[in-house]
């Protein structure tokens, strides 16, 4: 499990959440909060955290994907790169943002910014909030899978500190494409999962209506992700959720981010990259059979033909 140093309030809330036994009902509640239509999106945090912000557009290949916002801003007196999944707030805006589901051109726009961050040794913050990458024939033909994979690899190799924040729902590879950072943190009511509950219900229960059951089975809450070592910290939200007071939500996030970036910035680049690799290398739950009972040497002996 990753280092848990952080502001005292972060640790306190994380401990509270970790010790609470989370049931399926709470998972569903968390998912509703994570998807609340008034919940702050990346541009809401950006406008509060960095008044000077320059957004970049387009992947220089195919087009501009509004489901991903990317740009540079000044944060506590230094340049910083920010990439996030942007959902829309009303019907028209939602369609424009494609419900926060990026295509490959969105991830490639992100990679453009990552390359700038690498050149300038600028820190990168990603703000994750997506039901998943867009499932469409065009996206497939333009290399959706490869774009997600390359985005992870590019992010992993960045020299400067990187922090990924799950601010809403983090679902599937579409979320993880922006999630390979030194520190991965989740807002109190955010969720992080292998797939959206609706998608899981359709696949595992063969009934999209079983989303509540799926949510209960996946237990995608911040508390559980912290327990599994997926999240390094849980950042508290204002009472009732981030949507009740976006200013306060941004202030709480600012407290964690500024401190963490300072901490990470103190490490030399090779050391930071080594720790980042190890962080992801460690994640998983498996067991090892004692050597004598395992088939270690299967030199054709397992031939079933």
């Amino acid at each position: 499990m990753g280092p848990r140093r952080g502001p005292r309030f972060v640790r306190r809330i994380a401990d509270r959440l970790t010790h609470a036994e989370v049931e399926g009902g709470d998972s569903w509640e968390a998912i509703q909060l994570a998807r609340h239509q008034d919940r702050p999106y990346p541009l809401d945090y950006i406008s509060r955290l960095m008044p000077d912000f320059e957004e970049i557009h387009g992947d220089r290949l195919q087009g501009d994907d509004a489901a991903i916002v990317a740009g540079i801003g000044r944060y506590h007196g230094r340049p910083i790169a920010v990439i996030g999944h942007q959902k829309g707030r009303d019907a028209q805006d939602r369609a424009f943002r494609n419900f926060g589901m990026p295509g490959p051109e969105g991830y490639r726009k992100g990679m453009r910014l990552m390359e700038l961050a690498a050149k300038m040794e600028m820190p990168l913050i990603t703000l994750i909030d997506t039901p998943g990458a867009f499932p469409g024939a065009n996206a497939e033909e333009n290399g959706q899978g490869g774009a997600i994979a390359r985005s992870m690899l590019t992010m992993l190799r960045l020299p400067a500190p990187t922090v990924a924040v799950v601010i809403g729902e983090g679902s599937s590879g579409g979320a993880l494409a922006l999630g390979v950072a030194d520190r991965v943190v989740m807002l109190e009511n955010a969720t992080y999962s292998v797939i959206s509950p609706e998608g899981a219900a359709a696949i595992l229960w063969r009934d999209a209506g079983k989303a509540k059951l799926a949510a209960a089975a996946f237990k995608p809450t911040a508390a559980n992700c912290y327990r599994w070592g997926i999240a390094d910290a849980v950042v508290p939200e204002p009472e009732g959720g981030a949507h009740t007071d976006p200013d306060e939500a941004a202030r709480l996030l600012d407290g964690y981010l500024s401190r963490t970036l300072r901490e990470l910035g103190a490490l030399p680049i090779p050391e930071r990259r080594r720790i980042r690799r190890e962080r992801f290398r460690r994640i998983g739950a498996h067991r090892e059979l004692p050597p004598d009972s395992a088939t270690l040497m299967s030199q054709g002996a397992d031939r079933t033909g």
Binding site: P220, I230, R287, L289, T304
Partner: protein
């Protein structure tokens, strides 16, 4: 391991050309239809037996087994699913091994669709990472033959994170200067296609394999698009520029061996001091002059002997 009474590919009809085959016949043909070249699914261990020189391979990470971190229950508890998958003869959805292909040593990470749809959970991620570690330690290339429905739902977000874990391994290979070769087989979808499977330095695909991030059913449900029949298949992925070649399974081992031979680095020489280099250059100059001597004398003799010597047949020796 006990030999299963019947293999999945036993004694069946080719879905494409409707030819019937006896079990032995189709196994000898590496589970490819002899009439129409349709590629049947093949287990990871059989594939290794077929491909490795002399059928010899040494498993890496075979001691790793799955756990149930989420105590996951959908229509069936996860441990029950694992047990019934193991009963079919494999221990996980990936088998990693060191082997030789046409004399080229390499590490292969071969996925098995027969084990829970080839889904990538913690064990697949860890075995892949161990295989990459082994390749780096031995200084040999890594090949991955993929076949997967994506991340293993039953391990939730821990399964998702295995995507990032495989990316870390590719970064290690990158720093070690070792090639990573991918062979996509039917089907390679979801989190596997969106992680290591799409990052091959060279990428082959078996004929007719479905390669996609979102499967056709999901796309049709979400966007109500009508997809062409060959959507996402290898041949179409070749046209769209996502694979380098479509390779028949029966040619695969030889093709990979040739590729590895092309990529093989000459043994690295220790850096030399300037004095040694100069001395060596001098020696080489002297040696090359010595080698040229017989030719010089021959030319001289030609001139002296005139036309007579020019009539000699090629291959005549002096």
């Amino acid at each position: 391991m006990p030999r299963p009474a019947r293999l999945p590919g036993d004694d069946r009809q080719c879905p494409r050309c409707k030819s019937h085959f006896r079990a032995e016949e189709i196994r000898r043909n590496q589970f490819v239809c002899a009439a129409c070249d349709h590629h049947f699914p093949i287990g990871a261990r059989e594939r290794l037996d077929n491909m490795a020189d002399g059928g010899v391979w040494t498993e890496i990470g075979g001691e790793l087994r799955a756990t149930d971190p989420l105590r996951f229950v959908d229509l069936q508890p996860y441990p029950d699913r694992l047990r019934s998958a193991e009963a079919k003869g494999n221990t996980e959805a990936i088998v990693c091994a060191e082997l030789a292909l046409d004399g080229q040593r390499c590490v292969a990470a071969v996925m098995d669709f027969g084990f829970l749809g080839g889904s990538m959970g913690s064990v697949v991620g860890e075995r892949f990472a161990k295989a990459a570690d082994h390749a780096v330690a031995r200084g040999i290339p890594l090949i991955s033959i993929t076949s997967s429905g994506g991340a293993r739902m039953q391990e939730g977000v821990l399964a998702l994170m295995q995507m990032a874990k495989t990316i870390v391994s590719l970064d290690e290979l990158h720093d070690a200067g070792l090639p990573f070769i991918v062979v996509l087989t039917h089907p390679t979808t979801g989190g596997v296609w969106a992680s290591f499977a799409s990052l091959g330095d060279v990428t082959y695909a078996e004929p007719g394999a479905l390669i996609a991030f979102s499967g056709p059913r999901v796309i049709e449900q979400t966007t109500r698009e009508k997809l062409p029949e060959d959507f996402g298949l290898s041949e179409r992925q070749l046209v769209h520029g996502h694979v380098d070649a479509v390779v028949d399974r029966r040619q695969l081992a030889a093709r990979l061996g040739r590729l590895l031979a092309i990529l093989e680095q000459p043994p690295r020489e220790a850096p030399q001091s300037l004095a040694t280099q100069l001395a060596q250059n001098g020696t080489e100059r002297a040696a090359s002059m010595a080698r040229a001597l017989p030719q010089l004398s021959r030319r001289l003799r030609d001139r002296v002997m005139g036309e007579q010597s020019q009539t000699r047949r090629p291959g005549d020796r002096w």
